[in-house]
């Protein structure tokens, strides 16, 4: 009975989606708004990566909200998984197997590279594919490798917490600077646009991107660590 109704629901949604696909035709050109973005972001924000330009400036409010979401998840997962009565499911009397020595060594060697790469992705937000979120995720992946391969490592929660807090506050602060010195909240024109396509360009976008990266990296790391313990 339930199986049948589930199947029915899925099939009906299939029909609805089929209707959407049936009505969909691939566009030959982008919408007027997108065209505006494609023209404006490089020219007025000085960022070659239009997606990042939109994400960090024009839809910066979304991004800020998204950072808040991650921040809350870190806190929420902390609320849920923290506390004294947590028990891990590993049965007593059976020590978890030590990770391979080779993997540990491999991790030690790869980790700097990963973090460097994370930094690269973060820094590259306005120039090429990448940005704060992606870079932050890469950084967090590094943390994850650290925890996997070298389980003895303890994350310094205090440090991470302070980092993410500071990054968040500075982010909001830059937003306010935009309000004071430029045309609106999160306006990236508080810094000069610089030469198109170079690292120091596009106003505040690289700064925000870096903050975003640091913050996202710290938050994701905290989340992962909460799950680990």
């Amino acid at each position: 009975m339930k199986a049948a109704s589930s199947l029915l629901a899925v099939l009906l949604f299939g029909a609805v989606f089929a209707g959407i696909v049936g009505g969909y035709g691939e566009r030959e050109s982008v919408s007027a708004l997108a065209e505006q973005y494609l023209a404006m972001v490089p020219r007025e924000l000085g960022a070659p990566n239009v997606v990042t330009g939109i994400l960090i400036t024009y839809r910066g409010f979304d991004t800020l909200g998204e950072v808040a979401v991650l921040f809350m998840v870190a806190a929420g997962v902390g609320v849920l998984l923290g506390g004294k009565d947590t028990t891990t499911a590993s049965e007593p009397g059976r020590e978890p197997r030590r990770p391979s020595e080779l993997v540990g060594n491999g991790a030690e060697i790869t980790l700097p590279l990963i973090f460097l790469f994370g930094a690269y992705v973060i820094k590259n937000g306005h120039l090429s594919a990448g940005g704060g979120f992606q870079g932050g995720a890469v950084v967090a992946s590094g943390t994850m490798l650290l925890m996997l391969a070298l389980p003895a490592t303890k994350l310094n929660h205090g440090f991470l917490g302070v980092t993410e807090s500071l990054a968040g506050v500075v982010y909001v602060g830059i937003g306010i600077l935009g309000l004071v010195f430029a045309a609106g909240f999160l306006d990236s024109h508080i810094l000069p646009l610089g030469e198109f396509g170079t690292l120091i360009s596009a106003g505040a976008i690289p700064v925000i991107s870096a903050l975003l990266g640091v913050k996202v990296g710290a938050e994701l790391s905290v989340i992962i660590d909460r799950f680990r313990n």
Partner: protein, 86 residues
Amino acid sequence: MADMLLQIAGVLIFFAIVFGVARLVIGRTAIDRVVAIDMLTVVSIALIALYAHLSGRFVYIDVALVYGLLSFLAVLAIARFLEKGP
């Protein structure tokens, strides 16, 4: 000529992925599936690089890097958990 070779290469990669997916479906053990994933991601890196070439966009290479990094981590993590056993 070069383009044709590339096309053939593309077809070969296509089949590599098909085989990988087939192994994924056949499975046998969880480890087998993870091996398939490992191989598939490596093939995907090549695929992305190839696509970057085809579309002439350098930026896609970065994706390949992230991709390789992440797949490595994922496989490592899975292996680590698998060996702890259920």
